[in-house]
Symmetry: C2
Subunit: 315 residues, 2 copies
């Protein structure tokens, strides 16, 4: 029986992770989020309402020491830019509180938790046209990325001291988010799939040649579960892995959607380029991650598999 | 009249900076530290006793908005390794509190302060044998370095938002610290100068061929004052400068000491290598800082000038 704590358990990734973990009755799940519904409820499951950075919530969550913590909760990048104080409080300070509460469990109770941290490719800041490698310098251009990077550094230091056993994963945008979710600049990556699959027209805010880094939700969950299970004996001191991704143009995505949903997809799609969105989310260069692949992390395989995984009904 | 705030004003660097700033009667100085003596007292000077991360102390310090803040205070690296909670509180959390209090001054009062942050070469972690350049990746191996790096990232982000106007300087060990100061692993860099200059024998814990990065106290103060004065219009987004240093072996330091204090220095010096100190502080590779030099930052010039500056009586 292992005790698994999940922050942001009601979120897009959190729900899918809970569904997968529930398949194993040996897991005792403690879920933390600001709201819950029945979808994440079930046997061996506690739902704790509140902030993962609230010491009282953490005390309740860790009354039984945690074996594994998936830290998924965060204020999204564009919201954190509009509400700096909120982003600082949640993405940095609450994460530090959680990390140090787990470090105390490790140091005082000798129960060192595996902490899987959902970091982000936002740590890099602007990328050029040259292929990105795993040693790519991080120069975040938004507060969200800065705070994810600072959290990575603290988790690496706490891991060096043996107080926690962290694995930070730099996640790309995950598809296909519910069409109702707004506020993400990269929403087009999910909307193009939902709209064309449903036979609806879609005006895409990036060009046909725009390139992005793609990963489906099931593939993301696979990688999170793998991060919880790997040995960290040979992990880099940063405790950080850039997940492998598919580097695909919108044109390649369209071709895969046509393959699956029919040739009418091409007629449904038009482009009206928003230069800011194109610059921020449509100019990703190639990405090489031999170390992450060697450690067993995976991308979806190809564009067809990406669409199949991304559009699969919730298991 | 400009209002200048200095944290760690009673420290080794702080005292020297206060002496230099006092030469200009147009400066109003607010000094913050845990203890004071008469040396840092004087006209147009307020001494605030307490922590720079204490909101009450900061409110008092910033009743008149600050034009320039020199943030020098920190828990040294080896002490922070022994007392993790203290290092985390001071080097990270108190620094974040100070930075956000200054950001509030910038955002609410429209008075954006220049913040000169004494960061450290400890951000890099282990360096190889190849020359280090300004883009050297930072992979801190001690909490002190991790927290300095995290503070740099937050200051860069607050500067991007226009809330503060930060300049982070990565300082090497500064010489010659008072012989009474202990607890620094790099104490040998100062002790060799004090002992040989005084005609006393010295057993050096690193080899004759050990190489380190050197900067004198007056040179350090020059660079801090320069950092307060430069334009940041073309500063890198990191707001971070690796200061130029002299890359010298203990043998070259001995030669300069002999030059200044006489040939007997060679007889007074012996070596008893501590492998840990040699590994941590005696294996620094060459360092190239063309961007910092172009921005007007300086090292001491040569080994003779280093000794002359380092051993100059307090002005």
């Amino acid at each position: 029986m292992s005790h698994i704590v999940i922050t942001g358990a009601s979120g897009f990734v959190g729900r899918a992770l809970v569904r997968r973990l529930r398949a194993d009755p040996q897991h005792q799940l403690t879920l933390i989020d600001q709201a819950f519904d029945a979808a994440t409820d079930g046997p061996n499951t506690r739902q704790l309402l509140g902030s993962f950075g609230d010491p009282a919530v953490l005390d309740q969550a860790l009354r039984t020491p945690a074996d594994i913590v998936f830290h998924l909760a965060s204020v999204p990048g564009s919201l954190a830019e509009r509400q700096h104080a909120l982003g600082y409080q949640v993405n940095l300070q609450a994460t530090l509180t959680l990390a140090h509460r787990l470090a105390a469990q490790g140091e005082q109770q000798g129960h060192v938790a595996r902490l899987v941290f959902a970091s982000s490719i936002a740590v890099y800041g602007p990328l050029g046209t040259l292929p990105v490698r795993e040693g790519q310098p991080a120069q975040p251009a938004i507060s969200y990325g800065a705070h994810k990077l600072m959290a990575e550094i603290e988790l690496a230091d706490l891991s060096r001291r043996g107080a926690v056993d962290a694995v930070s994963l730099r996640l790309p945008g995950i598809v296909a988010r519910p069409a109702t979710e707004t506020g993400h600049g990269s929403a087009f990556m999910s909307l193009i799939m939902h709209r064309l699959a449903a036979g609806q027209p879609y005006v895409c805010p990036v060009s046909s040649g725009a390139t992005a880094w793609w990963m489906s939700l099931p593939c993301c969950v696979d990688n999170l579960l793998h991060a919880a299970a790997i040995s960290t004996a040979d992990a880099p001191p940063s405790r950080c892995w850039q997940l492998p991704v598919l580097h695909l143009s919108m044109h390649q995505i369209l071709a895969a959607l046509e393959q699956r949903y029919g040739a009418q997809c091409g007629q449904l799609l038009s482009h009206q380029v928003d230069p800011q969105i194109e610059a921020l989310f449509g100019r990703f260069p190639a990405l090489h991650t031999p170390a992450a692949l060697a450690a067993g992390f995976r991308h979806d395989g190809d564009a067809d598999a990406l669409i199949r995984h991304a559009m699969a009904p919730a298991q």
